[in-house]
Amino acid sequence: MNRKFRPGAVIIVTLACLYFLVPLYATFQFSLQMRRGELSFDAYRSVLSSDVFLRAFTYSVVASIAAIIVGVLLIAPTAYWVRLRLPKLRPLVEFLSFLPLIIPAVVLVFGQIRLFGSSSILPLTTTEIGTNTLVVAGYVVISLPYMYRAIDNGMAAIDISTLTEAAESLGASRLRTIATVILPNLRSAIVSGAFLTFSISLGEFVIASLLNRPAFGPYLVQLGEDRAYEPAALAILSFALTWVLMGVMQAFALRKPNQRWLRRRTSAAGKSST
């Protein structure tokens, strides 16, 4: 019940806000100065109309989405299965999921390049498909801790084993249970894991750069070396994109199961679920 107003606290919070906001303002202001003597959105126009940008961005979006799909398919069933049937193996799975927090991406990709190099039994780095596979696998690995935590927390919140037993005691098959009971209840957890993966992978630099893929991260670094105003514009765009992703994620995380995004979908979903 310490609700007293403290001047020291005001100073600290003000300083923090300045530290947080001034770089954003500076970047924004800088990004508008491409045309000499007046403010314009030229830098944004220049970036967004560049083919190299579009290609790099598209590559990263596709790779991130692939990483999300692989990650969800890999982690959701595993987390479910471990909670339901193999609680004894939980420490192992948790350990593996949190390992990427200890292994920096640069080390990870180093090992992958050597392990899957031209002289190995599985020479992934020699083909384009193989390298792309490695990029996606790398993104899955670096986002593994976040994806696993999001999904596992989601399962903890709804008490997965009781729900499963309840559904099965009512005569539902295992598949039906998963499709109609477990997944709908996990949707917000999966979505937040997916957005985290997306925001981690989209601007990722180290893996893409070392595997020589034309992704958004390496493009950004190159742009930073060549240009002055466009990088600022892209920084602002990335920050805005991260904000939007976080916002969407929070909306999903806070959403109650019976809330729907669109009024019209309510009736449609109501019909199809009966």
Binding site: R6, A26, F30, L74, L96, I102, L115, I200, G224
Partner: protein, 298 residues
């Protein structure tokens, strides 16, 4: 003997062995993936770190980490991580205290927490661009300080592309991260403790010295280590700010992978293992301290 044993086990029990195997099969995709893309690559490096190029066991690579150029980059990495983690810890703790105990309005707290969620993920290249636009040679703050306050920070020795410039940049994701991870601990300081202390005659200072600080200490230490590891692994921000000139450990490793600058692949493996060791130790200590702190939070 066998008859009796059979008779004692109901059929369901006998089915349980294959069923266990079936259960294990469910983990094969995950374990397979983790082995192939996480465990095996790391294992490859660890083994390589203890081998000569022709495959015999040796400690030379690990000892090679003591060579001046490598030891220097470790020392630089450790100092940079320490400085940014220490700064982030102190600033984040102060901010958390101010927000939680300072009577700030709820909307402001909510706004700063949400912002921190975004900013702690805002490492990497865009962050570097933002700081170049702020504190670079032509950055907004640099120009304002020069033109309005008559203080040319670059003339007085500051550079964004130096140790302290990097520290200040790292702080942009360290501070929010600290705020996010320390908030539960600061909120865990129960008002009953302060009131009980006050009712027994303790001053505010005595409360902080004897209860508040000791209770927070393990969490703060733990978070410091988390921040340390976070900074230690940072690579993209450094590259975008300084190219490859600032030879922290990840940069050296990056260069080594690109072009074998150490002229010894196995020394590169040792460098990777050294990095893993630093990360491992700080993360393990973090988890230990967090467990200790959680024990008290009950």
């Amino acid at each position: 003997m066998t008859d009796r044993a059979d008779a004692m086990h109901p059929p369901a029990r006998r089915l349980s062995v294959p069923r266990k195997l079936w259960d294990l099969l469910g983990l094969v995709p995950f374990l397979g993936f983790a082995f192939l893309f996480l465990v095996a690559p790391v294992f490859y490096l660890v083994v390589g770190a203890f081998q000569t190029p022709d495959g015999t066991f040796t400690f030379d690579n690990m000892l090679g980490l003591a060579a001046p150029n490598i030891a220097n980059s470790f020392w630089l990495s450790i100092r940079l991580s320490f400085a940014s983690a220490a700064l982030g810890t102190v600033a984040g703790l102060l901010l958390a205290q101010a927000l939680i105990l300072g009577g700030m309005p709820a909307w402001l707290r909510q706004a700063i927490t949400t912002f921190s969620g975004v900013a702690s993920n805002f490492a990497g290249v865009p962050l570097a661009f933002a700081f170049i636009a702020t504190l670079g040679r032509l950055g907004l703050v640099t120009l304002i300080l020069r033109d309005v306050f008559g203080w040319n920070i670059y003339a007085s020795g500051f550079s964004l592309f130096s140790f302290w410039g990097l520290t200040l940049t790292y702080l942009y994701f360290q501070l929010p991260l600290m705020l996010l991870v320390i908030t539960p601990a600061v909120e865990g300081l129960r008002s009953e403790w302060r009131e009980a202390a006050e009712s027994m005659g303790a001053s505010g200072w005595q409360y902080w010295r004897m209860i508040g600080a000791p209770v927070l200490a393990p969490s703060v230490m733990g978070c410091f280590l988390l921040l340390f590891a976070n900074a230690f692994g940072t690579l993209a921000t450094v590259i975008a700010l300084t190219g490859s000139n600032f030879s922290v450990v990840p940069i050296v490793l990056f260069q080594q992978i690109r072009g074998n600058v150490l002229y010894n692949p196995n020394l590169g493996y040792a460098l990777a293992v050294g990095m893993i060791l630093v990360m491992l130790v700080s993360n393990l200590l973090y988890m230990l301290l967090r467990r200790r702190a959680e024990r008290w939070q009950k």
